[in-house]
Subunit: 138 residues, 2 copies
């Protein structure tokens, strides 16, 4: 996505175009390093010395809503502890946050295909599928 496409997308969705916003979007959208908010802040600061973390976080929220980026972290920043290695899919409702597990031979077999292609031996995994659950669809 180039600068013009980005600006169009923002305008179409009713968002204003500011220099900070453009700088942050360009930085994160072109990155291949899964940057942290701090890394983005550092990079963008060079051209916009007065920029704030608040704006970085607000802009990242915007990009999430436009589905241009994914946030990589666990639910509410808490750590989880895993005593078993069984493979399952977490089916997570994006509205109410309810999580149900789905475990089956198919899941294990398909996941094994993937990791054998990857040529790695993971010490754990997490498979999430995001949905809107039946209750929330109404």
């Amino acid at each position: 996505m180039n600068k013009e496409q980005l600006i169009s997308m923002l305008r179409e969705n009713g968002h204003k175009v500011t220099p900070q916003r453009i700088a942050i979007c360009e930085e994160v959208l072109s990155s291949k390093e899964h940057p942290t908010a701090e890394a983005i802040f550092e990079k963008v600061s060079k051209r916009h010395p007065a920029i704030s973390f608040t704006t970085v976080y607000h802009t990242l929220d915007l990009l999430k809503k436009l589905e241009l980026i994914h946030e990589i972290r666990f639910d509410n920043r808490v750590t989880r502890y895993d005593p078993n290695t069984s493979v399952h899919v977490n089916i997570i409702c994006q509205k109410c946050g309810k999580i149900s597990d789905y475990e089956s031979d198919t899941v294990k077999i398909q996941w094994n295909h993937i990791i054998s292609e990857l040529k790695i031996q993971p010490i754990g995994q997490r498979l999430d599928a995001y949905v809107i659950c039946g209750d929330c669809k109404e």
Copy 2:
């Protein structure tokens, strides 16, 4: 792992056996729900009302060192942002937090098998594989 094995393992590694420690270990080692520290605290509190979060965290650290549990979270509690919104596997080092993407037709095909069995149409997904990367193994 039963209670006797747990106690032996603790003693062999020079750790003392206390009621709180046993209760926390039993709780997390028997759990199938990837519990948070808070969930463990709540459960253990019922039998040990005076227990503290500090002890829960200390005991979880101990179990990590004994490699009886894995900690599931990203890089030192920071959030990372990923502009790659297509189906891919995040390969995440549990020591240094480095993340690399793996994207291939196999990944897409196997994941499609899984979600067609699930009979859901997810609005998004996340596939993580946790590893210790080459640099950190040394």
